[in-house]
Amino acid sequence: MAIEIDIAHVARLARLGIPEEELAGYGEQLEVILEHAAAVQGADTEGVEPTAHPLGIVNAFRVDEVRPSLDRASVLAQGPDTTDEYFRVPPALETE
């Protein structure tokens, strides 16, 4: 199965600013891998339910109770750009 990928579109979805000159290379590698992976389409899975979780565990809930939050100073200390109270990012200008 020949696969053609709009690699620039995929990179945009994944928010990866891959340099123009590297994009095509990624596209070709993905095509090779996906052509191999496309073997899965040859398997007969008629009527087979998909598995998302390997064990049959269900209903893992937590009780609605408040637990201590992290200290704000230690949380903001993680951030690349913060004020005393907030994380700071550049403005959102693009409409994607």
Binding site: A14, P54, F87
Partner: protein, 488 residues
């Protein structure tokens, strides 16, 4: 002899009897690390002060007679396990310098067990790879031949245990990332049933496949390390809350009467002769010890690698979306928040991680979902059904862990697909969520270790360890590799 060469159970006895202190043991291990790190690079970070402080605490516990099986034992954690106050990077530039404000469940368990955490081990970036060549901070090297890879992604954890820079360690296994490096480094590496060890604090690669497990030099040590890490956890909704197996309950019982299944589909093209001969010798030895060897079929196994390389990248494409330069880790500035995120992610992730994010994004995208991801999920069901059929006629399945022994550094980096295919025997257990272990069974003609894989049904760790223990007895423990002089 350096105490760094002791197994955990040997060291534990010496500590309990007072023949050895945790301080002496820790110093020996730190010395071993300082001797070998320059060449082998198993660690991302060695926490000398933390290790010495923990050893001191452990000695107090031991003096009070209240030590447990890991009290004072120097262990290492893969760098995708969150450790409060200790840099945790996943061997990625995007997390370089991140000092977590919390401890993951494994780190908490280790502290509760009074283990001595020596440091954080090198890995393929975000656990994506089979060689540690994808670490953003340099490749770890195989202690049996430093021109070769140690395997991966938990390569650093394997090397540290193989060489004595830790007595035990933990890695994570998504498609073979514990078992394959254990095999290539000549030690024991085990992936538990999905859900037995909490994933809280394990930086996710592929959530439905990832599982933490131990590296050790003996099967007995593997049991002790697993027991210390396993247990239900309210912080992990996929954690198993039922009855836990008695992991070491059948050690020493031998294999007489057990039915051992050899997978018909494994062992074809690409499997090295040296691997095949050690594997066959081991099967023969098991048969000689009274096991019944049967041939079984896993028809869906031929799709396992493809299935894995659709599911794991899909999950990772979402799991790694959080690395965006807003709240922690690397930021590469941009005029807008969108540009900042694009640059941060492009510069912060290495090529293999980038490749898998792209692959997963594509596999999930509109129009391709059902053909790729949806079909992979159905094949996962078939894989589980195949295993169930196989286990109707045998107690465990066996195979080589990896089709090859350690390969040369750089040999496969230009061919991602070839690298992916080296996980062919390990991936099925991850897809099914089943336990599996790699035990060393001697070396090939180049002197490189060969690993023997034992797979078992979900929660059947007891019989898996029973067989692993018999293999270790029959084939002999692997010696430690000769200590190389530190390269200049």
């Amino acid at each position: 002899m350096s105490a760094a060469n002791l197994s955990i159970s040997e060291a534990s006895q010496a500590l309990a009897s007072g023949d050895l202190s945790a301080k002496e043991l820790t110093e020996d291990v730190l010395q071993r690390a300082s001797m070998t790190e320059g060449q082998l690079h198993s660690y991302m970070l060695i926490d000398h002060d933390g290790a010495r402080a923990a050893a001191k605490e452990a000695d107090l516990k031991l003096a009070a007679g209240s030590g447990g099986s890991l009290t004072g034992i120097p262990i290492a954690l893969k760098d995708n396990m969150v450790t409060e106050g200790i840099e945790t990077t996943c061997s990625s530039k995007i997390l370089e310098g991140w000092i977590p404000p919390y401890d993951g469940s494994l780190s908490q368990s280790m502290k509760a067990a009074d283990a001595v955490i020596v440091g954080k081990t090198n890995m393929d970036e975000f656990a994506m790879g089979s060689s540690t060549e994808n670490s953003a901070f340099g490749t770890s090297r195989n202690p049996w031949d430093p021109t070769r890879v140690p395997g991966g992604s938990s390569g650093g954890s394997a090397v540290a245990v193989a060489i004595g820079s830790a007595l035990g360690s933990y890695g994570s296994d998504t498609g073979g990332s514990i078992r394959q490096p254990a095999s290539l480094c000549g030690i024991v590496g085990m992936k538990p049933t999905y859900g037995l060890v909490s994933r809280f604090g394990l930086i996710a690669f592929a959530s439905s496949l990832d599982q933490i497990g131990p590296f050790s030099r003996t099967v007995e040590d593997s049991v002790a390390l697993l027991a210390a890490a396993a247990g239900p956890d309210k912080m992990d909704a996929t954690s198993y809350h039922g009855a836990y197996p008695n992991f070491g309950g059948s050690l020493g019982k031998g294999v007489a009467g057990l039915r051992i299944g050899v997978v018909k589909e494994f062992g074809g093209e690409g499997q090295e002769d040296g691997v095949t001969s050690r594997f066959q010798a081991t099967v023969a030895a098991l048969e000689g010890a009274g096991a019944a060897v049967v041939e079984v079929s896993l028809p869906a196994a031929k799709y396992a690698v493809s299935t894995y390389y659709l599911i794991a990248p899909a999950e990772c494409s979402a799991n790694l979306a959080r690395f965006d330069g807003v709240r922690y880790g690397l930021r590469v500035e941009g005029e807008t928040v969108e540009a900042m995120m694009r640059r941060t992610r492009a510069e912060g992730f290495g090529p293999e991680v980038t490749r898998r994010i792209l692959l997963g994004t594509y596999a999930l995208s509109a129009g391709y979902y059902d053909a790729f991801y949806g079909q992979a999920q159905r094949l996962r069901t078939l894989m589980i059904q195949d295993f169930a059929t196989a286990y109707a006629s045998c107690d465990v399945l066996v195979s080589p862990t990896s089709p090859t022994t350690a390969f040369k550094i750089g040999e496969r980096t230009q061919d991602p697909l070839a690298m992916y295919l080296s996980d062919i025997y390990t991936i099925p257990s991850n897809l099914a969520g089943h336990p599996a272990i790699s035990v060393p069974v001697g070396n090939d003609e180049l002197g490189l270790p060969v690993g023997f894989q034992i797979m078992a049904p979900a929660l059947a760790e007891e019989v898996m360890y029973q067989v692993a223990d018999a293999v270790e007895t029959l084939m002999g423990r692997s010696p430690m590799p000769k200590l190389q002089e530190v390269a200049s």
